[in-house]
Symmetry: C2
Subunit: 607 residues, 2 copies
């Protein structure tokens, strides 16, 4: 088995991710905290809300703040910050103070509806517990402080008592998964095997019971339609699904459960080969925020929640522990530069919950004579505040720990999965090996990997988008035996290419996306005027690569045609060739929607 090299062993020293980490540290972390303060989420930890007061705690508020705490812990692990640490300590004091005698902790079910503790599977108690446990583990690793961890161990013990020992709860598994992977982290941190067993228990029980579902959902909504070892496709609510699959992979990793691993592998393949947008976004339907059926990937109404995208990266990265295969790391790469990165505005202050692949402001104005909608369309702009605020703090914890995605190792080989300007220290037989990546990836594909501190076999992923590698590869990795001080010098030349989808993806039929290396490009109305579907890119023209004057991000321009405007043309007429030449401007998909309401398009006509 392979071990993921923990992000804390890596320092990102430049480039794309250093910039994003600085942005999260400087802007996003505070912005999310402020919104959480404004909405009462922080004060809710005082447990002093009374009926009739504003800001009644919601049953998922604990998890929002917990994810923020986890994200801050990851930042503290890299760079101390007394002010931020104090914020967490204050929250931890409140958690300790307000935790119930028996170990239970949940704001809503202590302050608002104490009579309903553990009565409804879909009220997110175990989900909140999981996020608090992840935060506690992260904070312990970052600071060595045990108080938060101790609280969460007590809570885990209480959960074990109720769900396993006494078995007196009217449901068997969480409606929203998360606690499974969190309990494995608690086990990894404390060595307490009961927590691994409890994670396994929740994984094993899923899909075994007759569950009374609310009328509006099917059992597959919460992946409870079959025992997990029998599942082969990704179903239901995409975030729940991905958190479950992470937990399944974790349990399989620690227990050597081949059946569970096989289920994870099949589900991953189903996602990557049939149910994933070109952005790495998942969840094709707003109804249920859910997976639908194979190849159902409409662009205009994609749901593609930010949380689901990053959770897919977490799942794929976990799969690399069963052996290096570039299909996993390729998906990680697809997600982090596209469907995840789009969720954060360039100024770091606002967020997408849904990350659409096409935006048509005109469609949002269609149902003018009635108050209801004929189509669920994603919002066109990022927002600073959400009622359901799972995504913003997920960004706060994901970007600071992005280096978790870089390396794994198995005692023999160090596997290089992603490319980021960075320095990483890996202990091997008492020696400290240092791996340094010198690269401006994804600006260009030149990557130098220097080894020092000893000799090692290093395997480097050849990106799936690169077809120019001449050497031998095994499952997408090239292997190098490096001596102390040697380096690998690679050049994954990036040129813009047109990408097609399988013909089953009917909404992409006849259209092509533009990618340059791992980065997907899109057109925006702000650069190209309205009616983006009327633009046909010239496949024989050369793309020009440059820098966008307003956004400061890369841009591509290419020759194209669009219809000459004739105000008096009839609505329908015989096919004409009345086209004029224009230059189309494309920007990275992750940079769209930073200039107000505008059309956006990922899949283009090409001639």
């Amino acid at each position: 088995m392979h071990r993921t090299v923990d992000f804390s062993q890596t320092r990102i020293t430049g480039g794309f991710w250093k910039h994003k980490q600085a942005l999260v540290r400087r802007v996003t972390t505070g912005a999310v905290y402020d919104r959480f303060s404004d909405t009462g989420r922080i004060d809710a930890f005082r447990f002093d809300w009374k009926p009739g007061q504003p800001s009644q705690p919601h049953f998922f508020w604990d998890s929002d703040v917990a994810k923020w705490m986890e994200g801050v812990a990851y930042q503290l692990a890299q760079k101390p910050d007394a002010r931020l640490e104090k914020k967490i300590d204050d929250l931890v004091d409140l958690i300790e103070k307000n935790q119930c005698e028996d170990g239970y902790f949940n704001i809503f079910f202590t302050v608002v509806q104490p009579e309903n503790r553990f009565t409804n599977r879909d009220w997110h108690e175990l989900y909140c517990a999981g996020h608090l446990m992840e935060a506690a583990v992260a904070y312990y690793h970052a600071t060595g402080k045990r108080k938060f961890l101790a609280c969460m161990c007590r809570y885990a013990d209480y959960i074990e008592k109720r769900f396993v020992i006494d078995d007196d709860v009217p449901f068997k598994t969480p409606g929203h998964e998360e606690i499974e992977l969190a309990l494995v982290k608690l086990y990894e941190c404390t060595g307490e095997v009961r927590y691994l067993n409890l994670a396994k228990h929740f994984v094993d029980m899923r899909g075994r019971d007759e569950i009374r579902m609310p009328d509006w959902m099917d059992a597959s909504y919460s992946q409870s339609h079959a025992p997990v070892r029998e599942q082969r496709t990704a179903e239901g609510h995409a975030v729940r699904a991905m958190y479950l699959y992470c937990g399944m992979a974790d349990v399989a990793y620690h227990t050597g459960d081949g059946e569970l691993q096989a289920a994870c592998e099949a589900i991953f393949d189903n996602v990557a080969n049939k149910r994933m947008y070109i952005t790495g976004g998942i969840g094709s339907s707003g109804a249920g925020e859910a997976f639908t059926v194979d190849y159902d990937l409409p662009n205009l109404i994609s749901y593609t929640e930010s949380c689901a995208a990053l959770a897919l990266a977490l799942f794929a990265n976990r799969m690399l522990r069963f052996g290096a295969d570039s299909k996993y790391a390729d998906v990680v790469e697809r997600v982090i530069y596209n469907g995840f990165m789009s969720s954060l505005s360039l100024d770091g202050k606002s967020f997408f919950y849904q990350n659409p692949l096409e935006v048509m402001p005109r469609m949002h104005k269609r149902d003018i004579s009635v108050r209801h909608r004929s189509v669920n369309l994603p919002p066109m702009q990022r927002q600073e505040v959400f009622a359901c605020s799972c995504c913003p703090p997920n960004i706060v914890r994901f970007i600071p720990s992005i280096a978790n995605l870089l390396y794994s190792e198995d005692g023999e080989v160090i596997y290089v999965h992603q490319f980021m300007q960075s320095v990483t220290t890996i202990e091997r037989d008492g020696k400290m090996l240092v791996l340094e990546q010198v690269t401006r990836y994804p600006e260009n594909g030149k990557v130098k990997i220097k080894l020092s501190g000893g000799d090692a076999r290093v395997a480097v992923r050849i990106p799936g988008w690169f077809d120019g590698y001449k050497g031998e590869t095994e499952k997408g990795y090239a292997y190098f035996d490096l001596r102390n001080g040697e380096e690998i010098d690679l050049d994954f030349t990036m040129k813009p290419v047109f990408i097609e989808a399988r013909p089953e993806v009917v909404f992409d039929a006849g259209r092509y996306a533009v990618m340059r290396g791992p980065v997907l490009y899109c057109m925006e109305g702000a650069d190209n005027g309205e009616l983006l579907r009327d633009i046909t890119l010239d496949s024989r023209a050369r793309f020009k690569y440059g820098k966008h004057a307003v956004l400061g991000v890369p841009q591509l321009s290419v020759r194209a045609w669009r219809t000459v405007r004739e105000p008096n043309a009839p609505l329908y007429r015989q096919k004409t060739q009345n086209k004029e030449k224009v230059d189309a401007i494309l920007i990275p998909y992750y940079a769209f929607a930073n200039r107000g309401e505008s059309e956006m398009q990922v899949w283009h006509f090409v001639k």
Copy 2:
């Protein structure tokens, strides 16, 4: 002003419409009656429903049966049928028997909720009254029997009393228009000017009052957002809108109200130039069954109700009375061969309420983990029974009276608007002119128009789709001075052509429709296999015109390409040219969905 030549002056003697009229007479009329019997709609006229019994009358049931009666009357006008006439007489006896003392007639508001008579604008009382009046007029014309007409005059008198003389009803105008045009028919039939004035009253009052709308709708839903003379765009519920515009045109026609006529002209242009599908279907959104915004014409989720399509033809035909302009008759033609004709199955037994422009069965299966839908999609198959059954009886009245669309005349000129194998008698200065059309239209474009019984000036519409006419035209009509016994010999050669939409119609961008003469063609999965969007038609290949072996309708075949199936191709990859040649089969749009669930597509990729 021009006069529409009444359908009763014409006998359809062969071809497309004779076949459809025979089908309606032989199959559809009985099928609709049987469904109305099954559902209690016929027995409801006994007024003996009691609480607790099944088949509680609905407040729009009167209108369903009235439209069926009107359709039967049109059939009786052409060919006596004692059995059918008896059915109507029985219903008329019940209407007379159960009409209230004061003249009011409505099943629901007499039997179920008598306390709520004329209390709610949106409960369709005046709409039902209108359809009963239309039926009564038609039945009087067909049989000379006055009983039904007398009942409806009494009802109209009562409505005048309540809405004008006493003015004691808590609303001023019908929520669902229809009575306006019906009152004009009553006026035309009886000569009683009070009925015209009442129609004008309802037209004039609309949009003048503050109306308390239900929460879910805007005033535009029922065209009440502005006084009608100020309206310039088609808004809200498409059927309501069209019935109103018909009524407005009727009032303008009889009163010479230029402002009203100008509003009708502007609204017609808005529909024909910006809000109409290539089928002639209207109503782009299922939410509110409504018009939306200019150029918003998505195919997969089009609403395009059958009733709205035929009402557009009725409206356009009425506009021809203000002067011949082929833009009106072109729309009539577009509707009757496409978006209207699709509503009836080839066997005459089942019906579309919505007439979609694209069918993707896979989309209907997408929301599998939840019970609600992310997209309102039209049904894929015609049905025999509807709870809301406005469309089937509308077909029963529209097809038998289709010859209303053929001619108008102004004392000087006889205008030929449509082409149907037929014989028509027009009285002129005491002489009986006979116009005979010899044509197999729309099978081909050869049309002979023979005049006998005297001399006349005849104007013939040159179809908008035909670009080969060499002679002079005025507003799309060619003028001929014919002597007794002379004929006009025209050949509107039909060849299949690719049609494009304006670029603002984003859902048609990059795609082309195929028309042959007035008939729109489509591809079905039943002929072409699944993934129709993956088929690219070859614009340089010749279409072959023939007869469909299974359906017996015309078909076109043309060379095309589709992706070679590679089971292991990745979901996304660099653009390939891996296409194979195939023959694509197209059938008339009106004939789709007669072979079970299947993909269907109107707008195709073409290279």
